[in-house]
């Protein structure tokens, strides 16, 4: 077999060559796949985020993910309808979740009331803490003024917590409050 003959001549060189060729081929194949899928993946991620924005902001026809302003290190997304400003959204993260970080997206209108809250990412217990993703639950924040400090019922607030999972709702309240403060500052500007 030719392979064995070449090995007898100079084994290390041959091994290195084979390894190099294989790695090169693999790298090329992966790079091609990456080039082909890169844009599609970016588009999927953008679609997801836009979906979230649509859920929390008043109806808009611009691209809030592209039109945004910076405030205190946060990106505030501006929503416009027919050129007129209708609302803003911001995404905040809290580390006080049961299973770690919870990221929420909060939207408000120009009257400084919350129009929507959506949980983008979380690691809460399925079946227990993950009820925070239910629209029926996040709907509790809608209509609240940006100046209001949200808290769970156990902390003298009016946000419903579910028995056995106070930590998750409390963390979301925390994230929403931070977001509300940012949005308030923006609406003043």
């Amino acid at each position: 077999m030719t392979a064995n003959n070449r090995i007898k001549e100079n084994p290390v060189k041959y091994y290195a060559l084979v390894l190099f060729v294989v790695s090169l081929v693999a790298a090329c194949v992966m790079s091609i796949a990456n080039m082909l899928t890169r844009d599609i993946i970016a588009e999927e991620i953008r679609k997801e985020f836009l979906h979230g924005l649509q859920a929390v902001l008043p109806p808009f026809d611009n691209s809030p993910d592209e039109e945004n302003v910076e405030l205190n290190g946060y990106k505030v997304y501006i929503a416009k309808n027919s050129g007129k400003l209708v609302g803003y959204g911001v995404s905040t993260t809290t580390n006080k979740g049961y299973g770690g970080a919870i990221t929420v997206l909060v939207g408000a209108d120009i009257k400084a009331t919350i129009t929507g809250v959506v949980v983008l990412q979380h690691a809460e217990t399925p079946g227990l803490g993950d009820k925070i993703t239910l629209v029926s639950w996040t709907g509790q924040f809608v209509g609240g003024a940006l100046s209001k400090k949200f808290a769970v019922k156990a902390d003298n607030g009016d946000i419903d917590q579910f028995s056995g999972a106070t930590i998750s709702p409390r963390a979301v309240c925390d994230a929403v409050n931070v977001a509300a403060t940012i949005l308030q500052k923006v609406s003043v500007k």
Binding site: A26, A27, M30, S31, N34, I167
Partner: protein
């Protein structure tokens, strides 16, 4: 203080084996005796820490700047495989005894979901180097605890009268399930 919380959370609350399901192969295959479990756990801890450090550095310093994050799986696997090869040679030279004892397990450690898994997790999270180390060592320690506990349980179970259909692996899985329930009790330990 935060590091202690991180350690507890990575070793117990989010136990690699019983909650995250990484590292099951050695867990099920090797944990029949407590002694072997301890050795394997230490070996895995060493490999995980060394490979996570190496892969973390390569990810931050090479892959991200060049924008080739998609190559991470290949690069990480090669780093891990080389590292284990190196460790195996080192053990062979320094302690032939240990080499004979652990010999068959070393390839198992290299191609272990836990080792590659933690490298990938560390690459995604935005942790600093020291945090990453604490997380990795904590996770490995948690794996060790789970393994030793499980080995103890299995030693006991081997003396029990187990129904024929359940002998061997099935009862081991069910015991692991009960152990996992116990570990769920740790949730809430880190506020």
């Amino acid at each position: 203080m935060e590091y202690i919380m991180l350690f507890i959370s990575s070793s117990l609350v989010n136990n690699f084996i019983l909650i995250r399901f990484l590292g099951i192969c050695p867990f099920m295959g090797v944990s029949r005796s407590i002694n072997v479990s301890v050795s394997i756990s230490l070996a895995i801890m060493f490999v995980m820490t060394a490979s996570s450090s190496a892969t973390w550095l390569v990810y931050r310093l090479v892959l991200v700047p060049l924008g080739i994050q998609f190559m991470q799986t290949v690069v990480f696997i090669l780093i891990i495989a080389s590292l284990v090869q190196f460790v195996e040679m080192a053990i062979e030279k320094t302690s032939p005894q240990m080499h004979v004892a652990l010999g068959i397990y070393l390839p198992l450690i290299a191609t272990n979901c836990a080792v590659l898994g933690i490298a990938l997790i560390n690459a995604q999270d935005n942790r600093g180097f020291l945090e990453m180390l604490v997380f990795t060592i904590g996770s490995a320690a948690g794996m060790g605890v789970a393994q030793v506990l499980f080995a103890g349980i299995r030693e006991r179970v081997s003396f029990s009268d187990v129904p024929q259909a359940f002998k061997g692996m099935p009862i081991a899985f069910i015991s692991a399930g009960i152990l996992a329930i116990a570990f769920m009790g740790f949730a809430g330990l880190v506020k």
